[in-house]
Protein backbone atom coordinates (compact mmCIF):
# COMPACT_ATOMS: atom_id res chain seq x y z
CA UNK A 1 0.00 0.00 0.00
CA UNK A 2 1.45 3.34 -0.88
CA UNK A 3 1.72 6.40 1.35
CA UNK A 4 -1.38 8.06 -0.03
CA UNK A 5 -3.53 4.99 0.44
CA UNK A 6 -2.31 4.47 3.98
CA UNK A 7 -3.00 8.06 4.91
CA UNK A 8 -6.43 7.80 3.33
CA UNK A 9 -7.14 4.53 5.09
CA UNK A 10 -6.20 6.06 8.40
CA UNK A 11 -8.45 9.04 7.76
CA UNK A 12 -11.26 6.72 6.68
CA UNK A 13 -10.83 4.66 9.81
CA UNK A 14 -11.03 7.77 11.97
CA UNK A 15 -14.15 8.99 10.19
CA UNK A 16 -15.83 5.59 10.46
CA UNK A 17 -15.06 5.26 14.13
CA UNK A 18 -16.14 8.83 14.74
CA UNK A 19 -19.43 7.95 13.06
CA UNK A 20 -19.85 5.23 15.62
CA UNK A 21 -19.19 7.67 18.39
CA UNK A 22 -15.66 6.37 18.86
CA UNK A 23 -12.78 8.74 18.33
CA UNK A 24 -9.61 6.75 17.94
CA UNK A 25 -6.37 8.37 16.85
CA UNK A 26 -4.26 5.88 14.94
CA UNK A 27 -0.74 5.68 16.28
CA UNK A 28 1.93 7.37 14.18
CA UNK A 29 3.73 4.95 11.92
CA UNK A 30 7.51 5.38 12.07
CA UNK A 31 8.03 2.95 9.20
CA UNK A 32 5.89 5.08 6.98
CA UNK A 33 7.63 8.11 8.43
CA UNK A 34 10.89 6.83 6.99
CA UNK A 35 9.27 6.99 3.55
CA UNK A 36 8.16 10.55 4.22
CA UNK A 37 11.71 11.34 5.30
CA UNK A 38 12.85 10.67 1.72
CA UNK A 39 11.50 14.15 0.95
CA UNK A 40 14.10 15.64 3.26
CA UNK A 41 17.10 13.90 1.73
CA UNK A 42 18.02 16.58 -0.78
CA UNK A 43 19.21 18.72 2.09
CA UNK A 44 19.33 16.71 5.30
CA UNK A 45 20.95 13.61 6.74
CA UNK A 46 20.53 11.96 10.08
CA UNK A 47 24.05 12.10 11.42
CA UNK A 48 25.82 14.73 9.37
CA UNK A 49 25.24 18.33 8.40
CA UNK A 50 24.47 19.03 4.77
CA UNK A 51 22.54 21.93 3.25
CA UNK A 52 20.45 21.53 6.39
CA UNK A 53 21.57 20.44 9.83
CA UNK A 54 21.65 16.84 11.05
CA UNK A 55 18.49 15.28 12.45
CA UNK A 56 19.98 12.99 15.08
CA UNK A 57 19.26 14.63 18.41
CA UNK A 58 16.63 16.91 16.93
CA UNK A 59 13.90 16.20 19.47
CA UNK A 60 14.58 18.35 22.49
CA UNK A 61 17.22 20.43 20.73
CA UNK A 62 17.04 24.20 20.62
CA UNK A 63 16.72 25.56 17.09
CA UNK A 64 19.99 26.74 15.54
CA UNK A 65 22.10 24.95 18.13
CA UNK A 66 24.13 22.43 16.11
CA UNK A 67 27.69 23.60 16.57
CA UNK A 68 29.36 24.75 13.39
CA UNK A 69 26.24 24.79 11.25
CA UNK A 70 25.60 28.01 9.37
CA UNK A 71 21.99 28.82 10.27
CA UNK A 72 19.97 31.66 8.83
CA UNK A 73 19.64 34.72 11.07
CA UNK A 74 15.91 34.00 11.16
CA UNK A 75 16.44 30.52 12.61
CA UNK A 76 18.99 31.84 15.09
CA UNK A 77 16.37 34.28 16.34
CA UNK A 78 13.53 31.77 16.33
CA UNK A 79 13.72 30.73 19.99
CA UNK A 80 12.21 27.31 19.36
CA UNK A 81 12.86 24.03 21.09
CA UNK A 82 12.08 21.16 18.76
CA UNK A 83 9.45 18.87 20.19
CA UNK A 84 6.47 17.09 18.65
CA UNK A 85 4.32 20.19 18.78
CA UNK A 86 6.85 22.71 17.48
CA UNK A 87 8.05 20.33 14.77
CA UNK A 88 4.51 19.65 13.65
CA UNK A 89 3.85 23.37 13.37
CA UNK A 90 7.11 24.11 11.58
CA UNK A 91 6.87 21.20 9.16
CA UNK A 92 3.37 22.26 8.13
CA UNK A 93 4.62 25.66 6.86
CA UNK A 94 8.32 26.28 7.57
CA UNK A 95 8.48 29.72 6.02
CA UNK A 96 5.37 30.90 7.80
CA UNK A 97 6.61 29.76 11.21
CA UNK A 98 10.16 31.05 10.69
CA UNK A 99 10.06 33.72 7.98
CA UNK A 100 13.50 34.01 6.45
CA UNK A 101 14.51 30.41 7.16
CA UNK A 102 16.84 28.78 4.67
CA UNK A 103 14.44 25.84 4.61
CA UNK A 104 12.65 27.17 1.58
CA UNK A 105 10.14 24.36 1.45
CA UNK A 106 6.39 24.67 1.32
CA UNK A 107 5.91 22.08 4.01
CA UNK A 108 4.37 18.70 4.69
CA UNK A 109 0.65 19.39 4.34
CA UNK A 110 -0.85 16.17 5.70
CA UNK A 111 -0.98 15.89 9.48
CA UNK A 112 -0.64 12.12 9.24
CA UNK A 113 2.56 12.52 7.23
CA UNK A 114 3.95 14.90 9.83
CA UNK A 115 2.98 12.58 12.68
CA UNK A 116 4.66 9.65 10.96
CA UNK A 117 7.74 11.69 10.11
CA UNK A 118 8.14 12.87 13.68
CA UNK A 119 7.63 9.31 14.92
CA UNK A 120 10.44 8.20 12.61
CA UNK A 121 12.77 10.95 13.81
CA UNK A 122 12.09 9.95 17.41
CA UNK A 123 12.59 6.25 16.68
CA UNK A 124 15.75 6.64 14.66
CA UNK A 125 17.28 8.86 17.30
CA UNK A 126 17.47 5.82 19.57
CA UNK A 127 19.13 3.68 16.91
CA UNK A 128 22.76 3.01 16.21
CA UNK A 129 22.98 5.55 13.41
CA UNK A 130 22.40 8.31 15.93
CA UNK A 131 24.23 6.73 18.84
CA UNK A 132 27.71 6.97 17.41
CA UNK A 133 27.58 10.74 17.20
CA UNK A 134 28.51 12.57 14.06
CA UNK A 135 29.02 10.20 11.18
CA UNK A 136 28.82 10.36 7.45
CA UNK A 137 25.47 8.69 7.17
CA UNK A 138 22.56 9.55 4.92
Amino acid sequence: MNCGHRALSRATLCVCLAGLGLVVQAAPDATRGEQVYARCLACHALASDRVGPRHCGLIGRRAASVAGFDYSPAMRRANIVWNEKSLDRFLAKPMRVVPGTSMTYDGVPLATDRDDLIAYLKKVNAEAVCKVGSRNTP
Partner: protein
Protein backbone atom coordinates in the same frame (compact mmCIF):
# COMPACT_ATOMS: atom_id res chain seq x y z
CA UNK B 1 22.26 33.66 -19.00
CA UNK B 2 19.54 33.59 -16.39
CA UNK B 3 16.03 32.33 -15.85
CA UNK B 4 14.74 35.69 -16.97
CA UNK B 5 16.30 36.14 -20.36
CA UNK B 6 14.50 34.70 -23.37
CA UNK B 7 12.43 37.24 -25.27
CA UNK B 8 9.29 35.22 -25.87
CA UNK B 9 8.03 31.67 -25.42
CA UNK B 10 7.95 30.88 -29.14
CA UNK B 11 11.55 31.79 -29.76
CA UNK B 12 12.46 30.07 -26.54
CA UNK B 13 10.73 26.90 -27.66
CA UNK B 14 12.48 27.20 -31.01
CA UNK B 15 15.77 27.42 -29.20
CA UNK B 16 14.87 24.42 -27.11
CA UNK B 17 13.88 22.31 -30.09
CA UNK B 18 16.49 23.51 -32.52
CA UNK B 19 19.79 23.41 -30.67
CA UNK B 20 22.11 20.82 -29.31
CA UNK B 21 25.16 20.78 -27.13
CA UNK B 22 26.05 22.06 -23.71
CA UNK B 23 24.19 25.33 -23.91
CA UNK B 24 20.99 23.68 -24.95
CA UNK B 25 20.03 22.38 -21.56
CA UNK B 26 20.48 25.79 -20.05
CA UNK B 27 18.61 27.18 -23.02
CA UNK B 28 15.85 24.67 -22.42
CA UNK B 29 15.43 25.85 -18.88
CA UNK B 30 15.58 29.46 -19.90
CA UNK B 31 13.27 28.67 -22.77
CA UNK B 32 10.47 28.15 -20.35
CA UNK B 33 10.61 31.76 -19.38
CA UNK B 34 9.49 34.86 -21.12
CA UNK B 35 10.25 38.53 -20.85
CA UNK B 36 13.08 40.95 -20.49
CA UNK B 37 15.10 40.03 -17.45
CA UNK B 38 15.33 43.51 -16.00
CA UNK B 39 11.63 44.01 -16.49
CA UNK B 40 10.91 40.61 -15.08
CA UNK B 41 13.04 41.31 -12.05
CA UNK B 42 11.25 44.58 -11.57
CA UNK B 43 7.68 43.52 -12.18
CA UNK B 44 7.67 39.76 -11.99
CA UNK B 45 7.14 39.66 -8.26
CA UNK B 46 10.65 38.54 -7.36
CA UNK B 47 11.35 38.96 -3.69
CA UNK B 48 14.16 38.59 -1.22
CA UNK B 49 12.51 35.25 -0.54
CA UNK B 50 13.06 34.21 -4.14
CA UNK B 51 16.79 34.78 -3.77
CA UNK B 52 16.78 32.70 -0.59
CA UNK B 53 14.92 29.89 -2.34
CA UNK B 54 17.35 29.97 -5.25
CA UNK B 55 20.34 29.96 -2.92
CA UNK B 56 19.05 26.96 -1.00
CA UNK B 57 18.63 25.19 -4.33
CA UNK B 58 22.16 26.16 -5.38
CA UNK B 59 23.52 24.71 -2.15
CA UNK B 60 21.81 21.40 -2.81
CA UNK B 61 22.91 21.41 -6.46
CA UNK B 62 26.54 21.93 -5.45
CA UNK B 63 26.26 19.00 -3.10
CA UNK B 64 24.82 16.84 -5.87
CA UNK B 65 27.74 17.77 -8.11
CA UNK B 66 30.14 16.74 -5.37
CA UNK B 67 28.25 13.50 -4.79
CA UNK B 68 28.46 12.55 -8.46
CA UNK B 69 32.15 13.44 -8.40
CA UNK B 70 32.61 11.08 -5.47
CA UNK B 71 30.81 8.35 -7.39
CA UNK B 72 32.78 9.00 -10.56
CA UNK B 73 36.10 8.80 -8.72
CA UNK B 74 35.12 5.78 -6.62
CA UNK B 75 36.34 3.24 -9.14
CA UNK B 76 33.13 1.32 -8.47
CA UNK B 77 31.24 2.33 -11.60
CA UNK B 78 31.22 0.50 -14.90
CA UNK B 79 31.71 2.63 -18.00
CA UNK B 80 28.03 3.06 -18.91
CA UNK B 81 27.11 3.97 -15.35
CA UNK B 82 30.08 6.30 -15.09
CA UNK B 83 28.96 8.03 -18.28
CA UNK B 84 25.48 8.39 -16.86
CA UNK B 85 26.82 9.83 -13.61
CA UNK B 86 28.94 12.37 -15.46
CA UNK B 87 25.99 13.34 -17.63
CA UNK B 88 23.75 13.87 -14.63
CA UNK B 89 26.51 15.78 -12.88
CA UNK B 90 26.68 18.00 -15.95
CA UNK B 91 22.98 18.76 -15.59
CA UNK B 92 23.50 19.80 -11.99
CA UNK B 93 26.36 22.05 -13.06
CA UNK B 94 24.06 23.69 -15.57
CA UNK B 95 21.44 24.17 -12.88
CA UNK B 96 24.02 25.91 -10.70
CA UNK B 97 25.14 28.17 -13.52
CA UNK B 98 21.59 29.19 -14.27
CA UNK B 99 20.46 29.56 -10.68
CA UNK B 100 23.55 31.55 -9.69
CA UNK B 101 23.19 33.84 -12.66
CA UNK B 102 19.56 34.43 -11.76
CA UNK B 103 20.40 35.27 -8.14
CA UNK B 104 22.84 37.87 -9.36
CA UNK B 105 20.35 39.29 -11.84
CA UNK B 106 17.97 39.71 -8.94
CA UNK B 107 20.60 41.64 -7.04
CA UNK B 108 21.54 38.84 -4.66
CA UNK B 109 24.76 37.03 -3.95
CA UNK B 110 24.84 33.40 -4.99
CA UNK B 111 26.16 30.88 -2.48
CA UNK B 112 29.35 29.07 -3.35
CA UNK B 113 30.26 25.41 -3.09
CA UNK B 114 31.49 24.21 0.28
CA UNK B 115 35.12 23.24 0.64
CA UNK B 116 34.07 19.83 1.91
CA UNK B 117 30.95 17.66 1.92
CA UNK B 118 30.07 14.82 4.26
CA UNK B 119 29.08 11.75 2.32
CA UNK B 120 28.60 8.20 3.60
CA UNK B 121 31.80 7.00 1.98
CA UNK B 122 32.08 4.07 4.38
CA UNK B 123 28.77 2.77 3.04
CA UNK B 124 29.65 3.00 -0.66
CA UNK B 125 31.25 -0.33 -1.42
CA UNK B 126 29.69 -1.26 -4.75
CA UNK B 127 28.14 0.26 -7.84
CA UNK B 128 24.73 -0.58 -6.42
CA UNK B 129 25.52 1.39 -3.25
CA UNK B 130 26.54 4.41 -5.32
CA UNK B 131 23.42 4.18 -7.47
CA UNK B 132 21.17 3.91 -4.42
CA UNK B 133 22.88 6.87 -2.81
CA UNK B 134 22.47 8.95 -5.95
CA UNK B 135 18.84 7.89 -6.31
CA UNK B 136 18.17 8.96 -2.74
CA UNK B 137 19.63 12.41 -3.41
CA UNK B 138 17.69 12.79 -6.64
CA UNK B 139 14.42 11.77 -4.98
CA UNK B 140 15.08 14.35 -2.30
CA UNK B 141 15.83 16.93 -4.97
CA UNK B 142 12.48 16.29 -6.64
CA UNK B 143 10.71 16.82 -3.33
CA UNK B 144 12.78 19.90 -2.56
CA UNK B 145 11.93 21.58 -5.87
CA UNK B 146 8.32 20.52 -5.49
CA UNK B 147 8.32 22.21 -2.10
CA UNK B 148 9.96 25.32 -3.52
CA UNK B 149 7.83 25.87 -6.62
CA UNK B 150 4.77 27.29 -4.81
CA UNK B 151 6.91 29.65 -2.75
CA UNK B 152 8.32 31.81 -5.52
CA UNK B 153 6.94 35.31 -5.78
CA UNK B 154 7.96 35.38 -9.43
CA UNK B 155 5.92 32.89 -11.42
CA UNK B 156 8.64 32.63 -14.08
CA UNK B 157 11.02 31.40 -11.43
CA UNK B 158 8.45 28.87 -10.27
CA UNK B 159 8.09 27.64 -13.82
CA UNK B 160 11.83 27.33 -14.26
CA UNK B 161 12.19 25.51 -10.96
CA UNK B 162 9.54 23.10 -12.21
CA UNK B 163 11.65 22.49 -15.30
CA UNK B 164 14.60 21.54 -13.08
CA UNK B 165 12.26 19.35 -11.04
CA UNK B 166 11.46 17.46 -14.23
CA UNK B 167 15.14 16.89 -14.87
CA UNK B 168 15.73 15.63 -11.33
CA UNK B 169 12.74 13.31 -11.67
CA UNK B 170 14.20 11.83 -14.84
CA UNK B 171 17.51 11.27 -13.07
CA UNK B 172 15.69 9.54 -10.24
CA UNK B 173 13.71 7.31 -12.60
CA UNK B 174 16.79 6.27 -14.57
CA UNK B 175 18.71 5.53 -11.38
CA UNK B 176 15.83 3.46 -10.04
CA UNK B 177 15.76 1.53 -13.28
CA UNK B 178 19.51 0.91 -13.00
CA UNK B 179 19.04 -0.32 -9.44
CA UNK B 180 16.35 -2.73 -10.60
CA UNK B 181 13.44 -0.93 -9.00
CA UNK B 182 10.30 0.25 -10.81
CA UNK B 183 11.49 3.48 -12.38
CA UNK B 184 8.30 5.39 -11.67
CA UNK B 185 6.90 4.10 -8.40
CA UNK B 186 3.77 6.21 -8.23
CA UNK B 187 1.57 8.62 -10.14
CA UNK B 188 2.37 11.53 -7.84
CA UNK B 189 5.41 12.92 -6.08
CA UNK B 190 5.38 14.48 -2.68
Amino acid sequence: MSFLKISDPISARRLFLGCSGGMVLSGAAVALLAGNEALAAKTGGSTVGDVQILNTAIGAEFEAIAAYQLGAESGLLTKPVLDLAVTFQGHHKEHVTLLSSTVEKLGGKAVLAKAKYNFPVDQLKSQLDVLKFAAQLEQGAVSAYLGAVPLFGNRDLAKAAASILGDEAMHWAVLRQAIGEPPVPSAFMS
